[in-house]
Symmetry: C2
Subunit: 268 residues, 2 copies
Amino acid sequence: MGKLKLFEADAATTGKFESKDEALDESKKLQEQLYDLLYLMFAHDKHSMLVILQGIDTSGKDGVVRHLFASANPQGIRVFSFKKPSAEELRHDIFWRCHKHTPESGLAAIFNRSYYEEVTTVMVHPELLKLQRIPEMSSDLKGLFKSRYEHINAFEKMLSQRGTVVLKFFLHISKVEQKERLKARLKDRKRNWKFSEADVVERKYWDKYMDSYEKMLKFTHTKHAPWHIVPANTKWYRDYLISKITVEALAKLKMSFPKSNHQMKSIR
Amino acid sequence: MGKLKLFEADAATTGKFESKDEALDESKKLQEQLYDLLYLMFAHDKHSMLVILQGIDTSGKDGVVRHLFASANPQGIRVFSFKKPSAEELRHDIFWRCHKHTPESGLAAIFNRSYYEEVTTVMVHPELLKLQRIPEMSSDLKGLFKSRYEHINAFEKMLSQRGTVVLKFFLHISKVEQKERLKARLKDRKRNWKFSEADVVERKYWDKYMDSYEKMLKFTHTKHAPWHIVPANTKWYRDYLISKITVEALAKLKMSFPKSNHQMKSIR
């Protein structure tokens, strides 16, 4: 990947669609296909799927979780949200709290935020590194993040070679769109609780966040675990795209239903 | 590292020592140093220590655990034995069950066996791979183990760069010594329970185990996590060597007691 710039305009596209209804029709079909593919993955029992959602505050990570698995069987899918790390988590490596929740064969997991916070939020706020009690390299920030990218790539390669499909979505909204969404949270009583003063403070760091995202996308976009940059100003387009990419990724696997050990005929 | 051969003779050496008592004197001093260093590590609170013990049945892994931390504060050290993986563990990658037990900063952990079983026992008995539900590569065994070595090296580099001292000990006994130890288990009522018919069956695979150990030692001996091959026919020499290497590794770290925030004088 060459030099990457996250432009405002990219965030607003709705691709081939002219209206929401068109997209919803296709999305509905994709949802059904996804349901079938997850069922097949469960039966085939050799692959698993890990969906990683990253994006700035209000970019729609929770919305994707709701949408993407609206029609999935909750038995086969688990969602994990990685918020501010606990004291115990800070005392371990950056994968520790996430690794234990990677999906077992047959199942799917969604990470709402992940170890990618360690190369984005932590890059914007390097003072957070002090909490992590890292002995060396904290004076060499560039080196530290470079090795974190490498560790991430190695970790995802390992998961991928074990049979996990790693799907990484970066939800890309524009700065103007974020402003609208923060305002909406203030207005709507049902969404008030999601508004945090911290979001407004973080907004000041917009450019620094974009810079960290660009670096993340560049250095951790790999064959085993590519990034998908999702224009996310328009929610229905965002959801359509994610369904589509997910369905395509699962369909590519060579999965089949196992043969039964029983003589079905004789049982009938 | 060039081609490596685990010779029978190597296992019996007692190095510079002519008598057991000489070694015990030095071992005692090392134990005290180890106690102090682990206390310092706890106070300094930036490093952790992971000791990995590998070796064939009866090579003395349990004995090392007893000896090495006989004098340590049990609050700062935890031992994990990785036996036959559970059904849930088999459904994850090879690090999953171990990673959750890696030590947090300030603390030490001992792994009695580890993910290295996945490139030794599993190499000797590739039929075990079927239980692991790996989608591809099971037809390409060489490729599979090659990527496992790479994953191991990446995992340990990650731990090491986060501040964990990774100490890997391979306990090397001779085939004759193993026979004696198995016999002893049969004779001694207190050790009867440790005798398993499986051990005798496994003994038939001696050469295959040696081959897998040689490969493991060659391909996972890295700057961040070197292997220490410990001649282990003689228990007191084995214990001395492990104490010595452990003390030296911890002493090399730049650790110091943190300054107190309090005015000690005024409190006095």
